[in-house]
């Protein structure tokens, strides 16, 4: 008799009741194995240091099946030199900032604690807070190294390049569906995710976008153009592309020049020493570059000649408009293809305005707010902005290295200072980055924070398929109801009644905090915490990524110890923390 037959025969003798108990026991064992490593301090695991992460670029490339780089390869840099160079940049920009604060008589807040800074990093780079698993892992490292370790871990995390790819996609092509068949937004986003994962230089990405050729399916960057096909009868729309290019790559809002000269003094162009009012011609000369992008049936987008015509306001007839840039014309290279000329001009190392525009956008994604009035409104005649200017020079000097730029910005005192202080904080303190500015999280960050708070472990592509599916569907529904701001996601907003109703009574929060022993933090804390104190501490770490204050700790301890239904009290604790403004604001 085979072994299988013996087992089957014995199993048949077990009662159904016994089977059910065995099944339940099996579930408990699986759940315990899943949770126990995260509930307490973990065994020390290998920690990726800054030095290692710099070397790790090559392995990321291999993991993502990306071709080997032919441009300046920063993975060959000496890690010590890299670190020294970054520290030097941070120190020089901090000095400028502190001098400025001193000059205007503002006191700066002390540096925030490591958990607060790590939460800011997570929100900026992956769009959700830290998991308890991540916090426990970081606690194994010396406190002084935790922030840097977390940053390097995030750089290697697929959530980082996926999240930034979506943000960039919104910025570059918007959120509209575009024309069916010829526009593949998802393909475009995946391509961006790949180039961000590989840390391709920013200037190279810009050149690829502006000079894109081929079919939108096998050359995803072509979708930068096909996104505009719907408003120009199946051809690239030079008007929309000029507007987009001015805002995204030049930090200039020149849209009003499409219809008329500037008569309000809002748009000043020309070289810095010879600023002049914006003309209608400036807009259409920029648009003329894009008329060289021709659609050629199944071959997709092809190179061509510029043939842009326009009838200016008050003119009697249409005229041919030659491609021309609105400032720094001397940087324009002598190339035949108009789009290549424009791309080379925008990415020219002396085109400071374009570099400032790039830095401005990275800054806004990290802080959740623009450095100035708007992320894409950096007039040529603006007064000096030393921090942006220095960051832009540093960005260009280091081969448009995005990861290095993020490392420098997140190393600044402006990013690491506390949002609270022992002196009265005014809006001016926030405006001048003397304290970290409070900003409401974007809808997808709120959804990410709620989902992450409901799990002990990090929610990423290694999570179970069920979790990923729940996360995907509930996030979409939540963001739609919370109010997706589309391309305006970096503009400040405040809380609305609909948002509060959604948070207090909505399905996503309810399902995230209910006592579900398979999926949720709530049940796991109730089952596996060694005592109520640890439960409260873990609940705070999971949701708000901080330890409770003594007052908070005592209050909820009393709640749990005097309550009649412990599970219900834990659910209520999670509801309170999830509904706090602290969860939905970056601080």
């Amino acid at each position: 008799m085979s072994g299988v037959s013996i087992i089957f025969k014995n199993v048949r003798h077990l009662s159904m009741k016994t089977m059910r108990w065995l099944w339940l026991l099996g579930l408990v064992v699986v759940a315990f194995r899943y949770l126990s490593p995260s509930m307490s301090d973990q065994q020390a695991r290998p920690i990726t240091t800054w030095v290692e992460s710099v070397r790790d670029v090559a392995s990321i490339r291999r993991e993502n099946h990306l071709p080997h780089r032919t441009v300046t390869d920063r993975s060959n840099q000496n890690p010590d030199q890299f670190r020294e160079s970054v520290n030097h940049s941070i120190a020089s920009i901090n000095a400028i900032h502190q001098t400025h604060l001193k000059n205007i008589g503002l006191q700066s807040a002390e540096e925030g604690n490591w958990l607060t800074i790590c939460r800011r990093l997570s929100l900026a780079l992956v769009g959700q807070g830290l998991s308890l698993e991540e916090i426990r892992s970081l606690q194994n490292a010396p406190e002084i190294e935790r922030v840097d370790i977390h940053l390097q871990n995030l750089f290697k995390d697929p959530r980082y390049h996926n999240y930034w790819a979506e943000r960039w996609t919104r910025y570059l092509v918007g959120t509209d569906g575009g024309q069916f068949i010829v526009y593949r937004r998802r393909r475009f986003r995946i391509w961006l995710s790949e180039v961000i994962a590989e840390n391709r230089p920013y200037d190279e990405i810009v050149r690829k976008l502006l000079t894109a050729e081929g079919l939108w399916t096998d050359r995803p960057e072509v979708n930068f153009y096909t996104a505009t096909f719907d408003s120009n009868n199946g051809e690239a729309d030079p008007i929309r592309l000029a507007s987009r290019t001015a805002r995204v790559f030049l930090g200039l809002r020149i849209d009003c020049l499409q219809c008329h000269d500037d008569f309000l003094g809002n748009v000043n162009l020309g070289d810095r020493d010879q600023i002049r009012e914006g003309k209608q011609q400036d807009f259409h000369q920029l648009a003329a570059f894009f008329s060289a992008a021709k659609t050629n049936g199944l071959q997709g987008l092809k190179k061509g000649f510029s043939n842009y015509k326009y009838q200016y306001l008050d003119a009697k007839e249409e005229v041919t408009v030659e491609p021309k840039v609105p400032f720094a014309e001397h940087l324009m290279p002598d190339l035949k293809d108009p789009r290549e000329r424009l791309a080379a001009w925008i990415t020219h190392e002396e085109n400071h305005q374009a570099a400032v525009a790039a830095v401005s956008h990275v800054w806004a994604l990290i802080f959740g707010k623009p450095f100035g009035e708007a992320v894409d409104d950096l007039p040529l005649d603006r007064s000096s902005q030393p921090i942006l200017d220095e960051l832009a020079k540093d960005f260009v000097a280091h081969q448009f290295d995005l990861r290095r730029l993020i490392t420098v910005i997140t190393g600044l005192k402006a990013f690491r200072c506390d949002s609270r202080a022992d002196f009265p904080i005014t809006e001016e303190h926030e405006d001048q980055y003397a304290v970290f500015p409070l900003m409401q999280l974007r809808p997808e960050q709120v959804a990410g924070a709620i989902i992450q708070a409901s799990r002990i472990k990090k929610t990423d592509r290694d999570s179970s398929l069920l979790l990923q599916f729940i996360s995907f569907t509930s996030t979409n529904e939540f963001v739609e109801r919370f109010g997706d701001r589309g391309e305006d996601e970096l503009e400040p907003e405040n809380v609305t009644i609909s948002q509060r109703l959604l948070m207090m009574n909505g399905k996503m929060v309810r399902e995230s905090i209910e006592s579900n022993p398979i999926l949720n933090t709530t049940a796991h804390l109730a089952m596996f915490s060694k005592d109520d104190s640890q439960l409260i501490e873990s609940a705070y770490l999971c949701t708000l990524n901080r330890f409770p204050s003594e007052n908070e700790h005592q209050h909820f301890l009393k709640r749990l110890q005097t309550g009649k239904n412990r599970n219900q009290d834990v659910v209520d604790l999670m509801w309170v923390l999830t509904n706090s403004s602290e969860l939905t604001w970056n601080h």
Partner: protein, 459 residues
């Protein structure tokens, strides 16, 4: 006005949410029925100082706002026909001609005015409404055209323009316990606050046959009160410690919005969403459809204090089997529209309520091989009735057999009206100046509308 970019010489100051704070929403108190989350229970069981303080503030603000309400209340009901209804099958039939299709025209009480036979009940009330039959736009894509017609501006990558409902609500400081700007069955295009702020976004609800989403607490009153107490007396208090002064008022509006949401949860005015409170015969007259119920709820919501309610009816994008799809749409629209006009009159709301009915564009005069009509923004119709609008008037006309490949598609449209003109006319009818200039958050001046008022259809 230009924003001073040189403040402090080096660091530009972000324009934050100061304006929205000045217009902070406040809500009067009301009685709660026993089936809902009760404020009395909240106070009895929670009794936190923070909640009492916020309620007393609400009472104080209510008194303030009472003196500010100097505008006579004007309302808008937008019957939004999403997908592009055919003008030929609704308000501008050309029967018997080359492009008329299967649709015949029927008479109305207005001499010489005929509309589609698919709208028999609407035909009977046309003496109370007016038609624009010559709307034109430059947008033939759904998404862009919807934006255009709801905001009065073509899509602009640099900013989002507010919809009519947001503009109307922005004009008034008086508040209700329920939202003033509501979108019923919103599909993909609820009215937006745009640069006026997200708080003017339409509050979205689905078929009034179902409960308002997220309005019911998932736990008992006592338990909810304890949660709220823990939230504000413990966790929020800790968050505010050492941070920006007057954090809630100056920045987050977290407590203010929570208070308003709690009031809404316990408000008697929520009954306005429940059309079952109306007689069966009245409900039947609107049609047993989500759209019909939405139109009935719209009247109830205006009575309760809402200012703009949009009700969406989709299914008009008839690229194939045009007649079938348009007939189905009209079957739902017809009883609801006619009953809406009658009910507004019966309840003395017609003179103060502007009814707007139409879609993002019309449909091609020609019928394609799939027996469908495609998108046509060069001459389509919009019905207007009520507040500030003349009775039984028709403005503009389309040709029965226009040249489809004409270089100037407008040459066959008599008295063409742009989308901007439509908006300017709507604002005039509501007693609002279309010339008013807004400052966007970055200081860009934007007119409320750049169009020309069509005085011929105003009362």
């Amino acid at each position: 006005m230009r924003i001073d970019r040189n403040r402090h010489n080096e660091f530009p100051v972000a324009e934050t949410m100061k304006n929205s704070i000045q217009q902070q929403e406040t809500f009067p108190l009301c009685n709660a029925d026993s089936h809902r989350f009760s404020r009395r229970a909240l106070l009895a069981s929670g009794g936190s100082a923070s909640i009492l303080a916020s309620i007393s503030k609400a009472i104080a603000n209510e008194e303030d706002n009472g003196s500010k309400n100097k505008l006579a209340a004007k309302n808008v009901i937008l019957l939004w026909l999403e997908g592009g209804p055919s003008q030929l099958e609704t308000f501008d039939p050309h029967p018997g001609g080359l492009f008329g299709g299967d649709t015949k025209a029927i008479t109305t009480p207005v001499p010489d005015l005929m509309i589609s036979e698919l709208l028999p009940q609407t035909a009977e009330i046309m003496q109370h409404a007016s038609l624009i039959r010559s709307l034109t736009s430059k947008e033939g894509d759904h998404e862009r055209a919807i934006y255009n017609i709801k905001s009065g501006y073509r899509p602009d990558p640099t900013l989002i323009h507010p919809s009519i409902g947001a503009v109307l609500c922005h004009e008034e400081s008086v508040q209700a316990e329920i939202p003033r700007h509501i979108s019923i069955i919103p599909r993909n295009s609820p009215g937006r606050g745009g640069f006026l702020g997200a708080k003017y976004d339409a509050f979205k609800v689905n078929d009034p046959a179902r409960p308002v989403p997220d309005i019911r607490s998932q736990v008992s009153n006592e338990r909810n009160a304890r949660r709220i107490d823990d939230l504000f007396s413990v966790v929020e208090k800790e968050f505010q410690r050492g941070r920006l002064q007057k954090l809630d008022l100056q920045r987050t509006l977290h407590q203010s919005s929570t208070d308003a949401a709690l009031k809404m949860m316990s408000s008697d005015q929520l009954d306005a969403f429940d059309v079952r409170k109306e007689s069966a015969s009245l409900r039947d007259s609107f049609g047993d459809t989500p759209f019909g119920r939405g139109c009935l709820a719209a009247v109830r919501l205006l009575e309760a204090g809402s200012r703009c309610v949009e009700v969406t009816l989709g299914g008009w994008d008839s690229h194939v089997t045009n007649h079938l799809l348009q007939s189905a749409g009209c079957e739902t629209l017809d009883p609801a529209l006619a009953s809406l006009i009658k009910l507004l009159q019966e309840r003395d709301l017609f003179e103060s309520t502007l009814v707007v009915c139409g879609g993002e564009f019309g449909r091609t005069p020609s019928i394609n091989p799939a027996e469908g009509r495609d998108h046509w923004p060069h001459g389509f119709s919009m019905l207007l009735a009520g507040c500030g609008i003349g009775r039984g008037r028709v403005y503009g006309a389309t040709a029965a057999e226009p040249k489809l490949d004409a270089p100037n598609p407008l040459e066959h449209v008599d008295q063409p009206v742009t989308i901007s003109d439509l908006h300017a006319t709507i604002y005039r009818a509501l007693g609002l100046s279309s010339d008013l200039e807004y400052q966007t958050p970055i200081g860009r001046p934007i007119k409320r509308s750049e169009g020309k008022v069509i005085t011929e259809i105003l009362s």
